[in-house]
Subunit: 345 residues, 2 copies
DNA sequence: AGCGGCCCTGTAACCGCTTACATGGTGCCG
DNA sequence: CGGCACCATGTAAGCGGTTACAGGGCCGCT
């Protein structure tokens, strides 16, 4: 037999279908479904029922076009697969999803075929309501241009001019690490720093805190025990070899990030120096593997950074529920097995 | 003086502005800028110049509405900050950005307040042209429903019914690991497996390959040396303690993932067993930290998985440039310091 | 009863782009 | 030289929502 009533594969319902089915106009549907005022309760109920029945959901593209808001936020990141970044992204995604925002990731910098922030911003054009920069440097001009497009902007990891930022007190980080080492009795402390050409602020601040704590203890930091690094494992491995070859080597090393500290562990093993017997080691981050290798470190909750950043922009965009804590995020010393009193006096 | 000619903050140019400025219709602008045929070269040049001059870029929302294609892809992930996932995401993002697609990340599962794939799919509604599932289980029905919306679908990490997948040959992985251990002379080999309730296919296949290699060598796998795990560091730590407490403990351990292998290293240290003297250890992944701890492992290039998946969907959506390799991605043994011949006969 | 005001609802104009279709111009062929 | 193709371009109708504005009903007040 023929099949005149063949269901031609259910098309997506439009707002018009809902209106028809509920016996109201599309305007009323739109208002009812978005919980706008001035809709009779009975009407709203009827509309909601119809929408449910038809499995209706507003087409985001249409809403975006009509309202000019995209309900999505971009996370601009250097290394998408870096430990820090990926945790931030996870934090962002969680709260964005909760608030009904899409999370768009965009990579910049050397990891991403050298796409720069500028062209990234270009790609972001009209796509998002907010941008969360994680650990990326953006010039004032770029920020201004972006702000002009009425985008909510936040920085994670370090401060950026004129926009709110979430992160930790990196000076305090340096201070905590140094103090721990000093209290153990160390006097000569090596520092695995950030890159020494570029003026990155995070390493700079940690170094600053480190030196402040040294001076507070009546010690003088020895810059010949500083070695630059790029936050990679390899840097740490190289650094420990260099440091331990010093005429008067350090009895402890402060690596500005756990990843470099891991490198130290690796390099130390190869160089025949034992930790913490020959040299103590402390990092920063409390990376997932810090417990695995017993690394003493300064803990920070990175996913929480991302979550805060997201709450910040979502709130700024008028969908905030919870108030956002703007203080520096908490940090704390986690003592494990890579730090001990110096063996040599 | 008054300022009648005040620039009222440059609004975004629309296609109409470009049309006016180039002296053509909006249709022509649209065609010219998208490199469609049937546009005179001279016209195209003029339009392009005008667009450049006005810093025009099409509003994505409007395009999406008009074309029904969003030029973005969703990456559905369990643990956004997991090593595997974040590398896949990075790979995806790189090629998507290149092809002009946005990458939207969406977390599912326990990490994301238990959002399930279903509600995630709901969130994805009409938002993307394609979905890349990484290491997430999706039922045939869900896939069918998604396919119905004419979405390009790909799975990364393991096979999913009816859709293409990219990943490695996990049976071969198990085989390679086992063979390496066997060639070193090991006969009793422990296995840190996947969770034993859920029928995850990846661990199952690796186990399968492992057992096949054992049998090929005339050995019989001993299930009392199998212990379940959840791919976490802690699982590995627990496992090694359990395994080494066995009446007749293994001389080697095969951890189905490096993260668990790291746990083994951690647990071994605490339990007073040395690697590889007391027990050899091999993992899978070649995690960034495998070199740090000298872990012997089976290497895979995870970012490449993501890249392939992205190329696959982008190609399927008609923007593919490069052909996509559908064979299993390459893997190889990386020998480091955690494997050695057994000390005990 | 008349009137103002407040709610609730509907009409229709947009948002900015894509594309089917119509139109006019050109070149080529018979 | 007429006619036909074909190419370049324009016109206008969507795409599926949002929202300014208008209108109608009802209540309370004078």
């Amino acid at each position: 037999m023929s099949d005149p009533a063949a269901q031609p594969r259910r098309e997506r319902a439009t707002i018009e279908d809902v209106a028809r089915s509920a016996g109201v106009s599309v305007a009323t549907v739109s208002r009812a479904l978005r919980n706008l005022p001035n809709v009779a309760d009975s009407t709203r109920a009827r509309v909601e029922a119809a929408a449910l029945e038809l499995d209706y959901r507003a087409d985001p593209a249409a809403s975006r076009l009509a309202t000019g808001r995209s309900r999505s936020v971009a996370v601009v990141v250097q290394l998408l697969n870096g430990w820090y970044s990926s945790h931030v992204v996870a934090g962002v995604e969680a709260v964005c999803a909760e608030a009904g925002y899409d999370t768009i990731v965009v990579g910049v910098g050397p990891g991403s075929r050298d796409r720069d922030v500028f062209s990234a911003a270009d790609a972001i054009h009209r796509r998002v309501d907010a941008i969360i920069f994680v650990d990326v440097r953006v010039s004032s001009e770029e920020l201004a241009a972006l702000a002009e497009q009425s985008l909510a902007l936040v920085s994670v990891g370090h401060e950026l001019p004129q926009i709110p930022s979430v992160g930790i007190d990196d000076i305090e980080v340096g201070r905590i690490a140094a103090r721990h080492l000093i209290e153990l009795g160390h006097r000569r402390i090596g520092l695995i720093n950030g890159p020494d050409e570029l003026p990155f602020v995070v390493p700079h601040q940690r170094q600053h805190g480190f030196e402040a704590a040294m001076r507070d203890a009546g010690l003088v930091p020895d810059p010949t025990l500083y070695t630059p690094g790029n936050f990679t494992v390899q840097d740490g491995a190289d650094a420990v070899i260099e440091l331990m070859a010093h005429d008067d080597p350090p009895t402890a090393i402060f690596a500005l990030a756990d990843e470099m500290a891991f490198g130290v562990i690796l390099g130390a093993e190869q160089a025949g120096v034992t930790i913490p017997d020959d040299v103590s080691l402390i990092g920063v981050d409390d990376h997932d593997f810090a417990p695995v290798v017993g690394l003493t470190t300064v803990h920070q909750d990175v996913a929480e950074h991302g979550a805060r950043a997201a709450r910040l922009v979502v709130g700024q965009l008028g969908h905030g529920d919870e108030p956002v804590d703007l203080d520096p995020a908490p940090i704390r010393l986690v003592e494990r097995r890579t730090t001990a009193p110096p063996r040599r006096a």
